[in-house]
Amino acid sequence: MILNKKNLTPLLESMAAGRDVFVPARVDGVAKFALFGEGVECAFDLVNTTMPPKDLLFPQTQKMYHFDVDANGNYRIREYDESREQVVFGIRPCDMRSIVCLDEVFLTKGFVDEFYANAREKLLTVCIGCASAAETCFCESMGVDPQAAPNADIMLQDCGEVYRVLAQTPKGEAEVANWAAFVEEGDAEPVACELSLAVDMDGVVDKLEGLYDHPIWENLSIKCLNCGTCTYVCPTCHCFDISQDMRRKDGVRFRCWDSCMFSEYTMMAGGHNPRPEKLERVRNRFMHKLNFFERRYGMSLCVGCGRCVEKCPVALDITRLIDDIGACDVVPVAQAE
């Protein structure tokens, strides 16, 4: 089944009838996923948005509970559920791969985060493959096919003039069912997308375990500013802090993004900080991206979208780190029993 690019806008308008459709767009000069509607013109020409789509599933500030004391003095807690039927149209394969990571974190290993779960259920993902890549894209090296996203509901492979429509989940099939007016039969060959940037990932995960005290961290971390840019533009970063906003007798408990780059992130009562210096914090972030997540969930936490490489104020580059790790000759430590 193929979908002509010309029909995109009418398709979007029809989908937006009952639901919120988020499309990549430039709002006030910032490329992000915005609610499709008048005054928002889609920017499918963007290779990728600056702000990742994770905001739809895991907003920067999410109200969790409202609590107060009722008339006879006992606590009353009411949970917010702001999840709504949403469609994210035009999400890229690397971001789809990041949703896989987020699903692992929020939905598996014994505790289901229902705020994330509610949002995730109601989200329909329409992924559009990449015909061309930015200079900072290296998704192939991280095992992501620029024209394929197994976990997307619907996959539109970019074939130049048209998209090749693949419904990959029951939800996707149901949705494609009512695209009849916009799609035609037939097939098309997706355009091959070459990436200029590639890294060699094999052996890196194991090597990292032996590099704990290796000077490469020193050289890398010394130039980091410890701002939170990379963690906030990264589609897979999922650390958050919970705090509350009190009024006299009632208040709202909310969750908000936090960054392991901030020194206050690991500040403990009494003033001890397990990661006091930049070195520990930078090492921890890259280890989490490339090693810890692999060990725990069996997949890399970096999807190669290149946003952090693009947006880092001091051009601290994960790909150069991977190259440097490759170049190191440290023998990998035996597998932890």
């Binding site: 709002v27 907003p59 009353r76 807690i77 009411r78 559920d81 290993k109 014994g110 505790f111 709202v252």
Partner: protein, 180 residues
């Protein structure tokens, strides 16, 4: 992040709306002036609440932002006349800081009358009353502060019908064993 919509709810003026103004007054001069106004049984509108600080030099611009963010419609900062400061130079520094801060707030779109600074001595009870009355009138004319602020507008979560509240502690969840 939702597109910015200034608080439409705040824009319409509720019918019996009264401006809420906070006045940071220095203990040695203006607070004394305010007390004197009381002694002379002067009368002025009750919209102004006085917060006592030792000196206008103690006035941190961050309190003004807090007040405006948390619901005040106007802020008044008062201190001794330059030269009379009990701590000699407190108000000289305050004068410079407040001049710069007032221009910055107006630059960011705050109506000039919402943030005012006035030197009122311990003997100027009349001036205190007149200042309070003029500030209240000016802020009343401007209406509620039309600034985006989430705090006063906790949209209470919709309580699912019939269910008053739910048990705060979730039911027991058995962790799956760790996959290889």
């Amino acid at each position: 992040m939702s597109v910015v919509e200034t608080n439409e709810a705040a824009a319409q003026v509720p019918e019996n709306w009264e401006p809420k103004i906070i006045a940071f007054c220095c203990h040695w001069c203006t607070y004394t002036g305010a007390d004197l106004a009381g002694l002379n049984r002067m009368n002025y509108p009750a919209n102004v609440r006085v917060l006592r600080i030792p000196c206008s030099g103690r006035m941190n611009p961050q309190y003004v932002i807090e007040a405006l963010n948390k619901g005040c419609d106007g802020v008044l900062v008062c201190g001794c006349h330059p030269g009379d400061c009990h701590y000699v130079t407190g108000n000289y520094f305050a004068r410079r800081r407040m001049m710069i801060f007032k221009r910055l707030l107006e630059y960011e779109g705050l109506e000039p009358d919402r943030f005012q600074v006035r030197w009122i001595s311990g003997a100027e009870a009349g001036k205190f009353r007149d200042t309070v009355m003029s500030v209240v009138e000016q802020v009343r004319a401007l209406g509620p502060l039309n600034l985006t602020r989430e705090i006063p507008y906790f949209e209470l979560p919709a309580v699912p019908d019939g269910e008053e509240a739910f048990d705060a502690v979730p039911e027991e969840v058995v962790p799956e064993e760790v996959s290889a």
